[in-house]
């Protein structure tokens, strides 16, 4: 008799992992991690969070034909903090999420600015990842893990994000917000709640890469944070939003589907963290780029058909509107 005591793995780690580390960099840095990802002229572009020895972060591009090897890394920082014009960027810019908006023919980058008053969400746009135009701070602190949807709903742009309250007992949920012009945001509502008690995603969750359109709805990959006696564990779960009305949460995975296992995910500046900020759907293959232990970049791939099959078998969510 043979035992089958292993979970089916949706995402498979690439054998070249970690695919990018500080050894690949053209200039001295402390760590390279949490990268946004997109396709640009048929090539894979990563916008990498790079932390220097001051402890501040900036963003640098890395481009590859196959998205796995032969990365062309910018010889200099691509997008540096500009605290003179944008004081909220005084302690660096972090964790970019890239959304291509076809209507505007531009890439939009939601990133964390580390302001004197705490981390907040900023937005910038670009056509070529060489020249960027900033939209400024679009959400006050403390807020992170934001990404735009690529289309409008009822004429409004929509963003997911993760504000944090310092009120005791107030968990960090994923919120949804709306904008007429991408600069000014409002109508903020709780969308996906952190679970309670013993769940893997109790008390603190956050969006990982931007929402991905599939026939069944918007596929959401999010991280849940478990606080243990020895530190934190960042793992990933899936959720599904209604295709027409993203304020409706339709399904949500009960189990986490990806978590720290390999050495490059378990040891680093922050142990036991897998933190994707970008995924690229290329036919039936989804490539997920993630930071490993806040120190380097790794890649894992899944079949889109497997992800669709998995999420459509997750439990339906009853009520999200109204009070919990």
């Amino acid at each position: 008799m043979s035992l089958n005591n292993s979970y089916d793995e949706l995402f498979q780690r690439d054998k070249n992992n970690p695919i990018l580390s500080i050894d690949d960099w053209h200039y001295p840095v402390n760590s390279v991690f949490n990268c946004g990802a997109t396709l640009l002229n048929g090539e894979t572009l990563l916008l990498v969070r790079v932390e220097d020895r001051k402890g501040f972060s900036h963003l640098t591009t890395a481009i590859s034909k196959d998205g796995i090897t032969s990365w062309k890394i910018d010889t200099h920082p691509t997008l540096l903090p500009d605290p003179e014009h944008y004081p909220e960027e005084i302690w660096g810019i972090e964790d970019p999420r890239i959304t291509y908006i076809e209507e505007l023919q531009q890439y939009f980058i939601a990133y964390t600015s580390y302001s004197r008053g705490g981390p907040l969400v900023s937005l910038a746009r670009t056509k070529d990842f060489v020249h960027f135009e900033r939209c400024g701070a679009i959400l006050p602190p403390e807020d992170k893990d934001a990404a735009l949807f690529p289309v409008r709903f009822n004429g409004k742009w929509v963003m997911l994000h993760r504000p944090v309250s310092s009120t005791p007992g107030a968990p960090a949920h994923i919120w949804i917000s709306f904008s007429p012009d991408l600069h000014h945001w409002g109508d903020h509502r709780i969308l996906i709640r952190a679970r309670e008690g013993g769940w893997w995603d109790a008390n603190r969750i956050g969006l990982s890469p931007p929402p991905l359109a599939i026939p069944e709805g918007w596929l959401i990959l999010y991280h849940g944070v478990r606080r243990t006696a020895g530190g934190v564990i960042y793992r990933l779960g899936l959720a599904l939003l209604d295709l027409e009305d993203p304020t409706r949460l339709v399904r949500r995975s009960e189990e986490w589907i990806f978590g720290p296992r390999e050495n490059y995910e378990r040891e680093g500046d922050v142990d036991d963290v897998v933190f994707p900020c970008g995924w690229i759907a290329d036919n039936d293959l989804v490539r997920m780029y993630y930071g490993g232990a806040d120190s380097r970049i790794a890649l894992a791939t899944a079949k889109l058909s497997d992800l669709r099959d998995y999420i459509t078998h997750c439990p339906q969510v009853d009520s999200i509107y109204g009070w919990s």
Partner: protein, 316 residues
């Protein structure tokens, strides 16, 4: 004004009303744990307060109290005036601390208040013209954010908001901008805490900004955390008329703070928390309404010209 008082003006700048507290749970038409932190406005010759009322579950709602002179003979609504609605899930744990301004360009009053969501406190906004019917514009700032008020007019073609996000216990006053009251952006720090000072731990806007010929007068609270709890005291600042993101002057000293019994005895001892001001445009006399110790409502008076004199001479 006699010389003695003039020399000590900072200490006499605000005078407590003799019959403070003016409103307590004892006055209330229905059971309540505390009535405090009211928004204030003058309308049709009456003073209207929108009081925060905390029930015995620990959740707050808002109830209107009206007086012909702003000090006594309060007529209080029999029932809660504005209560949380489930359609706005951010109001689940109550609504708190309203600030009211009259928006001339809309001929309506805007009430900015705190909604206590399960993800923490957020800022919401509702419009009204009669304080009986309210139209919600929803949550305008995500958690954790409080102590928000609009300016009474557009500045540079946009509405302007002052508010106070809080991060890991530390909190500065921020300023933000909107084309339409509903959607907000360009958030930046306006008035930071001062390490070591009386306002070292947190600062937050008190009543809405007051328009003066010298600029926008800001009454704000500063928090110092002591071994036995928090002290909420009141300071002043003056913002540029045309560019309210610019501070012209900020008082070194606090000008009002807990001193008497009803400010020390309550659910949160040591709190004076002004949330509404009414100014007589002819005389400059002003009434500042404040929550005392998170338990009752009190009022103190001053004069706008005296305040501006002190700020101008930088003697506070």
């Amino acid at each position: 004004m006699d010389k003695q008082i003039k020399n000590n003006l900072p200490f006499y700048l605000f005078q407590r009303y003799d019959d403070n507290p003016i409103l307590t749970t004892k006055n209330w038409p229905y059971p309540a744990n505390a009535v405090f932190n009211p928004g204030a406005v003058e309308k049709d010759g009456q003073t209207i307060l929108l009081a925060r009322v905390e029930d015995m579950r620990g959740f707050s709602h808002l109830t209107r109290a009206r007086s012909p002179n702003g000090f006594s003979n309060w007529e209080i609504d029999d029932h809660p005036t504005l209560t949380p609605v489930e359609k706005h899930n951010e109001e689940q744990w109550g609504i708190e601390d309203p600030r009211i301004i009259y928006l001339a360009d809309q001929d309506k009053y805007a009430v900015t208040y705190v909604s206590f969501s399960t993800g923490g406190p957020v800022v919401s906004i509702a419009m009204t013209d009669d304080f009986s019917h309210f139209e919600r514009l929803g949550c305008i700032l995500p958690p954790e954010d409080k102590d928000a008020s609009l300016f009474p007019c557009q500045i540079g073609g946009r509405y302007v908001l002052i508010h106070r996000p809080i991060i890991r216990g530390e909190a500065h006053i921020w300023i933000s901008f909107s084309p339409d009251l509903k959607y907000w952006g360009e958030h930046r720090v306006l008035l930071p805490v001062r390490p070591g000072w009386w306002d070292n731990h947190r600062v937050g806007l008190g009543p809405p900004p007051i328009e003066t010929p010298e600029g926008w007068l800001i009454i704000y609270h500063g928090v110092r955390i002591t071994a036995s709890g928090s002290l909420y005291r009141v300071g002043l600042a003056l913002l540029d008329r045309d560019d309210p993101g610019k501070i012209i002057h900020r008082s070194d000293n606090w000008v009002f703070g807990p001193q008497v019994n009803y400010e020390y005895m309550g659910d949160v001892p040591g709190v004076t928390f002004p949330t509404g001001v009414i100014v007589n445009q002819l005389t400059g006399d002003l009434r500042m309404y404040y929550g005392a110790a998170d338990k009752s409502i009190a009022v103190a008076t001053s004069n706008l010209n005296d305040i501006l004199d002190l700020l101008r001479s930088k003697s506070i």
